[in-house]
């Protein structure tokens, strides 16, 4: 376990060396928050006050929480593993006495821990100043929200890791990556809340792990769900976590037998 703790810590430090990137990222998240909030607000005004149970303030809160969690949750993923397979550096990863998935997971948690404040706070501050935020006044949603965020970070990690692992079989994963991004952006509730979807798409989204990756922690944090409902949603997140973990481990197991390490 100590190795994974050290890996997480090192990842936190690695990311903390790129401060300019963090500032630029936070700025971008805030600007896009303004754009998204204004689009949703004008849609709600046109619809006559509320859409799918979201009032104007609630929709704005949904946007700002989404923008704040975007980076910590790792919603854009990274192609580090696929890159290391391409360059052959995967040989180094496999020569270490740690579990491949767990070592990358620990590093992603370290990254997320760094991203929380510098990437999360600015969009929330901008949101509070520009549109105001409708946040709950009791501690419950924040506690469960924290657990839900941890689960969502892990889910996003495992989802992207699975796509990266495809590089054990195919040299170029860009097509799979694009497809995953499109599906995930839509079905996780990043573009609009999944409850705004037409029934058939809503049902489809609910049958995938994607809403657990963003919509769930945002709804729990915003206090849109009551305690029992929130708890059930967190349980669902952990169920998906178990499923994705099995998928990823099976992929690692079969993929590493298939893997051809590039270069000398």
């Amino acid at each position: 376990m100590r190795a994974y703790w050290e890996l997480a810590k090192s990842s936190f430090r690695r990311h903390s060396t790129y401060r300019t990137a963090a500032v630029a990222g936070a700025f971008t998240n805030s600007v896009f928050g303004l754009i998204r909030a204004s689009l949703l607000l004008s849609a709600i005004t046109t619809a006559g006050g509320a859409i799918g149970g979201y009032s104007a303030m609630e929709a704005a809160t949904y946007v700002w929480l989404g923008q704040a969690l975007l980076a910590p949750l790792g919603l854009f993923g990274n192609t580090e593993l696929a890159g290391r397979v391409k360059s052959g550096d995967i040989a180094v990863d496999l020569s270490r006495s740690v579990n491949l998935t767990a070592s990358y997971w620990a590093q992603d948690l370290g990254r997320a821990a760094f991203d929380v404040l510098p990437r999360g706070l600015p969009p929330l501050i901008v949101g509070a100043l520009v549109t105001g935020l409708a946040m709950p006044g009791t501690p419950g949603p924040y506690l469960l929200g924290f657990v839900s965020i941890l689960a969502a970070i892990s889910l996003n990690f495992l989802g992207f890791f699975a796509i990266n692992l495809l590089s054990f079989w195919v040299l170029e994963i860009r097509g799979f990556w694009m497809l995953y991004m499109v599906l995930m952006n839509l079905l996780s509730g990043f573009l609009v809340p999944v409850t705004w979807f037409p029934d058939w798409l809503f049902d489809f989204a609910r049958a995938t792990p994607f809403p657990s990756m963003l919509q769930t922690p945002v709804d729990i944090l915003a206090g849109r769900t009551d305690g029992a409902e929130s708890l059930a949603m967190v349980c669902l997140q952990f169920l998906w976590l178990a499923v994705l973990l099995v998928v990823v481990q099976v992929m690692v197991r079969f993929g590493s037998r298939k893997l051809v390490v590039q270069g000398g």
């Binding site: 190795a3 090192s10 040989a91 496999l94 020569s95 579990n99 000398g264």
Partner: protein, 325 residues
């Protein structure tokens, strides 16, 4: 008990080969074909061969990174692929062209992580690290991010990383590639001392003959995926009838080779630069360089000279040619 046991080990790769404009055909490439060898604890073995001969493929199978197509491998008592993580705690690996250090962190930050990976307590790895840092002169760049290190500095860091957990076996894949003479020599001295003091087994691949001469008593020559020679280095030169070459520059031109009374076993190979530069090959088992030089100096004044050892590629080519005949 041997530390490495390789028994009839093979690995083939499927590659897709274009046939005509659209179709592709599967083709099997045999990178390693049925090799056998064992390495005893404490040995220092050079694993040499031309590019593409199958060295790296073998190394990857020894470390459990690559699954063999057939045959058996045992390293430190482990079956490398299924027991990869347990094996990784017994061996140290240095890939000359890859890094196991954390690229964007100061060099010293990599070692606590490695110590934890090897399940060493701080009291265990810290003194060892200080010792290694001392011997490898890491002190002045320990706080420099790895990405800013020079190649020589980084390699010293890499070797320290591979040795932190006092591995029984250290596998080095071209550890001196790209290093200058001084860095190479430092690294060799260190590895040699490590083996003498701790009985560490060394297996290294290299293209540099002097790595082998300085470090290894035994060489394995692999050619086209098969072992072409297994024995002492001196034997390799003997088997191939390798010769050394002496190149002398004379103070005044001499136009005829016949003027030199060269001893038996030395052959005048050629004249360049209008009689100034002469090259002479000789058999090192029969003649010393001093004898050859004395013979030349008795005829003409020597202004400058250089000696050339047979290179690995040359030896391997000779050996392979001999096997083919």
């Amino acid at each position: 008990m041997p530390i490495i046991e390789v028994d009839n080990l093979s690995r083939e790769f499927q590659i897709m080969e274009p046939v005509g404009r659209f179709r592709r055909r599967k083709k099997a490439v045999h990178a390693v074909r049925g090799i056998d060898f064992t390495v005893e604890p404490g040995e220092a073995v050079g694993y040499i061969g031309a590019n593409g001969a199958g060295k790296s493929t073998t190394i990857k199978m020894l470390t459990g990174v690559l699954v063999p197509s057939s045959g058996r491998v045992t390293v430190c008592g482990f079956n490398p692929v299924p027991q990869r993580k347990a094996l990784a705690r017994k061996i140290g690996v240095v890939f000359g062209q890859r890094s196991q250090l954390w690229w964007d962190l100061p060099l010293q930050d990599s070692y606590p992580i490695l110590g934890a990976m090897h399940r060493m307590s701080e009291a265990d790895w810290r003194p060892r690290f200080r010792d290694l840092a001392d011997q490898m002169d890491l002190g002045e760049f320990l706080t420099t991010p790895v990405r800013q290190l020079s190649l020589g500095q980084r390699m010293r860091g890499e070797v320290a990383a591979a040795l932190l957990h006092r591995p029984e076996l250290v596998i080095l894949d071209e550890p001196t590639i790209g290093l200058d003479m001084i860095s190479k020599e430092k690294l060799r001295q260190f590895l040699d001392a490590e083996r003498r003091d701790n009985g560490t087994t060394l297996l290294l691949t290299t293209h540099d003959m002097s790595d082998i001469q300085r470090l290894c008593q035994r060489v394995l020559v692999v050619d086209d995926g098969a072992i072409a020679y297994d024995g002492p280095l001196t034997g390799l030169a003997e088997v191939t009838g390798a010769v050394r070459t002496m190149v002398v520059d004379l103070a005044a031109p001499v136009h005829s080779a016949a003027l030199f009374s060269l001893p038996n076993g030395a052959v005048h190979e050629g004249i360049e630069a209008d009689g100034i530069r002469h090259s002479v090959t000789f058999d090192p088992r029969r003649l010393s360089a001093a004898t050859v030089l004395a013979a030349i100096s008795s005829t003409a004044e020597v202004a400058d000279l250089s000696l050339h050892e047979p290179d690995i590629e040359h030896l391997v080519r000779q050996l392979y040619g001999r096997a083919r005949r």
